[in-house]
Structures are given as structure tokens and as C-alpha cells.
């Protein structure tokens, strides 16, 4: 286990060290202490390493992650795991706005609640939130899966494309062109698998699925009130 103290060393030194790890590195376990809300911790990683962060993080922790597993023992600031390509980011606490924004792949697990715009413009990432999510989540979500074990705020899935949204609790309102859809067997398989991977003890039968009505895919003047 490699330990890096962010009080003793700089952010630049930390990220440089993590970026130096390649596929075949034998330094696969890293621990970062004294995170104290620092921004841009462990961004742009590109190796199958495991990074454990002790304490809460600021903006963009794990941004653009590839291959790495990042575990935050605290809460995460805005844009955690933004544009993640692959790998896994786990937050033991809550996540601020835009968690998993524009993510292309990988798994983001939020064990607490997520604030507004969770999964905004997601492009293939899977997100599992053990608690609730805030308003405008999955706005313009293109693909991937968002699983919410609690409730969802206003305008869920506004203008979304082909992403699947699974919510167990109440949805305050659905956004434009977002409708409830049937859970087919293939969706149930995805849901069960994601709940398992995320360690979420929730009954998959209690979830509802939401997705695109696909009425806004091509401009139609009769839909102008929805634009």
C-alpha cells in the first residue's frame, strides 16, 4: 500500500505519481490521506489500480477515470467521476451536483444521496445511488443506467435519449419526453446486476423504469411547447 499525504505533498505530485502507473504496475493499492476537500484528486487515471481516499473530496474527484477503482471515505464535491470512461468510483457518503456527468462507462456508486443533475448527459456510465437524487438528474442522458434506491427530484430525465432510469421511490416530476416504461427481462437483469455490484440491498421488483418517449428526437413544430 502506497500512502500519500496531501498535507505533505502537492496535488500535482499526487496526480503525477498516479499517472505514472501503467497496466503492469505492481503498486496497485494507494491510500490518500488528508484530502480535506481538495479538488481534482486522482483525475485522469489510466491504470487498474485501487485508490482509497480518506476524507471528503472537492470538485471532480476521479474525473475522466479509466480502469482505476477509487473509493472515497467521505463525501464528494461537484462533478465526481465526471466523464468516467471505465473503472469504478465508490462514495461512502453523499455526492454533490453533477455526479457522473457525461460519463462514458464504468460504475459510479453513491452510498448516500446525490444532489441535482446526477448523471447529466451520461453517455454509457452506470450509476447506482443508494439514497435519493436531486432535480434535473439524467438531463439529456444518452445511454447507460441510473439506479436510484430512494426518491428522485423534479424533472427526472428531461430530454433524455436512450438511458435507462430505475427508481425505487417516488419521482417528484418527470422531465420533457421522459415516461415510465415497462421493465422487460433484460432490464431486470441489468438492474439486478447493478444492485449487486453496488452492494445495494434493495428488492429489484420495487423499481420502476423510466426512459425516452422519443417524441423529441426529430424537431416537430407540434411539439414546440416541449422545447
Amino acid at each position: 500500500m502506497q500512502t500519500f499525504d496531501l498535507e505533505a505533498g502537492s496535488l500535482r505530485e499526487l496526480n503525477e505519481m498516479l499517472h505514472a502507473q501503467k497496466d503492469d504496475t505492481n503498486q496497485t493499492a494507494w491510500e490518500i490521506v488528508n484530502a480535506k476537500g481538495s479538488h481534482a484528486i486522482a483525475v485522469g487515471l489510466d491504470a487498474p489500480i485501487e485508490v482509497t481516499i480518506k476524507g471528503s473530496t472537492g470538485y471532480y474527484c476521479g474525473g475522466m477515470n479509466k480502469l482505476a477503482t477509487i473509493i472515497i471515505h467521505g463525501s464528494a464535491g461537484p462533478g465526481v467521476a465526471e466523464n468516467m470512461m471505465s473503472g469504478k468510483v465508490v462514495i461512502e457518503g453523499d455526492a454533490s451536483q453533477y455526479a457522473g456527468a457525461t460519463g462514458h462507462g464504468g460504475l459510479l456508486v453513491i452510498k448516500g444521496n446525490a444532489s441535482s443533475r446526477c448523471g447529466i448527459s451520461m453517455k454509457g456510465i452506470d450509476i447506482v445511488v443508494h439514497g435519493n437524487i436531486g432535480h434535473m438528474s439524467a438531463f439529456m442522458a444518452q445511454s447507460g443506467n441510473l439506479v436510484v434506491c430512494g426518491d428522485a427530484g423534479e424533472a427526472l430525465g428531461d430530454s433524455l435519449y436512450e438511458a435507462n432510469l430505475f427508481v425505487r421511490g417516488k419521482v417528484k416530476t418527470l422531465g420533457a419526453d421522459c415516461i415510465e416504461k415497462e421493465i422487460l427481462p433484460e432490464h431486470m437483469e441489468i438492474l439486478k446486476d447493478l444492485l449487486k455490484q453496488a452492494g445495494a440491498e434493495a428488492n429489484p421488483d420495487e423499481f420502476r423504469r423510466y426512459g425516452s418517449a422519443r417524441k423529441l428526437y426529430n424537431f416537430d413544430v407540434d411539439n414546440v411547447a416541449s422545447y
Partner: protein
Amino acid sequence: MKDDRQSFVSQTVPIQSATFTNEVNAEIRRAADTGIYDIRGGGAKRRVPHFDDLLFLGASISRYPLEGYRESCDTRVVLGTRHAKNPIELEIPVTIAGMSFGSLSGPAKEALGRGASAAGTSTTTGDGGMTEEERGHSTKLIYQYLPSRYGMNPDDLRRADAIEIVIGQGAKPGGGGMLLGQKISDRVAEMRNLPMGIDQRSACRHPDWTGPDDLEIKILELREITGWRVPIYVKIGGTRPYFDTTLAVKSGADVVVLDGMQGGTAATQDVFIEHVGLPTLACIRPAVQALQDLGLHREVQLVISGGVRTGADVAKALALGADAVAIGTAALVALGDNDPKWESEYQKLGTTAGAYDDWHEGQDPAGITTQIPELMARFDPIEGGRRLKNYLKVLTLEAQTIARACGHNRLHNLEPEDLCALTMEAAAMARVPLAGTDWYPGKAGF
């Protein structure tokens, strides 16, 4: 008996309204027929104060000119010197603006890379990500980081020579984009992670930050991911250039790219293009003033775009304080866009060469703003690259000619004192004297 006198009665001449012109009435009828606003590409077509409203004074007794065919005039510029380990070193101060693969064909993007590289300058990606054609043929490629993040990935980020965070563009400051389904081919759809054939919307603001404080942290993230190697540009549309430039610099930008309303777009509403934003001429001096007030003029470089067509435009932008310019529409014209040789096909599309602006519909006879293979095949990227290189050379030679005539051995030595304005409006915007006077609106002592 017939009364001949009646034929001598004066008749009222039909008068067309200056308010309800034929063009206006046609647009009213079109709106009434279709129920939708006009969407088009390009920039503002209306007449606005522009570089044409400025003149260089040239040298005489009070200034000493340089010999055009013997004395050198340096054109080089370095962008991104503030923080980046590897700033962008350009042979000429004319760059190629961001234009997306999707709005342009792959061969057109390749041609932009070829032409820019041959001329010693940079080209820029656009919404939709980086293509191999473009990366492979561009010695210096600027990677746009846009609100949509279509095609955005850290591998491309790391192989870019600079990153341009796009906050706005002059054609539609405050607006997002639209790529109609006709242009969402398999390849475009795959790069953007969207179903084929749908109308793709590009967001008007970034999904994971709001405001300059957040932007500062976003820039930090991008620098950390790229090891502080490459410059970070911030591109803004011309709206409040003094404050926006100040905030971009405060956020950590190495370069500010400022795009006026004549700057083009692949597609947006005509009403947006013509009625939102500032003319390019009105943007430059406030932005330069902001940099000067911060003590960072020339340390943070300013790139101006929007309606740059000639070497005179380049020279005027530099004289007003810009470090470089970017061209988009002019580059497309150089490649062959709107060429009269396709006139019969433009006619079939209900337009004419020079006026064709339905780039979003993907039917471009010149094969540039299309994804239709048969049309794309008309465009030769090698020949396109050669034409662009030639055009960039001419822009540079023209700018050098003017600089020498003003007594400068370096393009960047051009200054506002080399200029005068032909109109009150241009004098006010450019803050250079009205021709024949020593006064401009807003100058103290009037």
C-alpha cells in the same frame, strides 16, 4: 369621342416598404407556411461596423516605411505562454477555428489539418470529438472541450496540443447547437453516442460547472489530467467582452478566443445569428483593455474571430491588440464552399452560390458540409489542403505588406495609432480617430 387627357394624369410610383421589404415579407410567408423559425449556418449577414470601416494611415514623414521586397516582417506568434509547459508556436497569426466533424465531412477536416499544417498554424476540433484524419494531418491541433462533451475522452485530451474550453461562439452566444438527423451518419452517431438519424442537440452550457469560480477548478482538473503541458484556451462569444475576458483570465485561461457575431456556426436560428451578440469590431478593444487592466496583455494571448477575410482584416485585428485571429467561414470558402462552379446545384436547392447557408441539411454540393458519401467524394482533401495553405499565405503576405507600409518589421508591432476610422460607429468601437480628426466618440476633450 375619346378623352386623351386621361393618359397624361400622373401615376403614383409603386414604393416598396423599407420596413416590410421583399425579404421580410418572404420570411413572414415562410413562417406562416411552416410554423418554424429559419435555421441556417454561417454568421451574421446584416451589415455591421467591421474592419472595412477602418483604414491604415501608412508611413510618410512621421513614420518610416520598410521595403516590401527586402526587409523582413516577422509573423510568428506563441500562444499559451502563461502556464503551459508546451505553448503553441505558430509561423503565422492566423489559425483555423473549431468546426465539428459532423457538421463537416471527414475529408474536409483532413483538408483543414493539411492546409493549416503546411502554413505553419493550428487547426481546431469541434463538437463531436477528434477524428483520426484531423489528428493525423494537423501538426498542431486544438481540442475543443464543449458543453455537449460529444466524443470527449481523456485519450484525445492528452494527445491534443492545446485545449479550448468553449463557453460561447459569436454566432449564437448563449445558445446551444443542433445537428439535424440528416447529418447523423453511423460514424457521427457512434462518436457522439447517439441513435442514428435523430436531431442532436448540443447543450448551451457546461454540464458540470457554472460561473468563473467553478471554471477555475475545471481548468485545474484539465491541467492536472494533461500534466500542465498544454495551454488552455477559453472561447467566448462577443457579448460583454471586457468582463468575460476578465473572468476568463481570472479563471486561469492561457489564451482568450473571442468570437464576434459575424463568426459562423453549423446551424442555429437566423434570428439568433442576426440579433444576439456584438460585431467583432466592437469586441476587440474592450477585451484588450481588460488584459491591460490586469497587466496581462501579451502574457495571456487574445485570438479574435468572426468575419476575418483578408490580410487587411488580420492586420487590423492585430493593430487593435489581438495576438492572432481565427478563420472558419473563410477557410471553408477557400476549400470550395459556395463555389459558383456548383451554381446549377445551388439553384436546385433554391439558393445561389455565395448565399448557400443550409449547411445543417447536409446537401452541400461542394461536398464539405455533408455526410453523404456521393457528395463527400467530390471533395479532394489534398487539393483542399493546398488551397487553404495558399489562402493562408496570401492573408499573411497581405498583412505583412500593410505592416511594412506602416513601418513595422513585425506584425505584432502594428498598433491602434496606425489606424483611422471611416465612420463614427467604427471610431467608437475601435477607439481610433475618425479619419482626418484626432477624435473618436467617448474620447475625453470633445
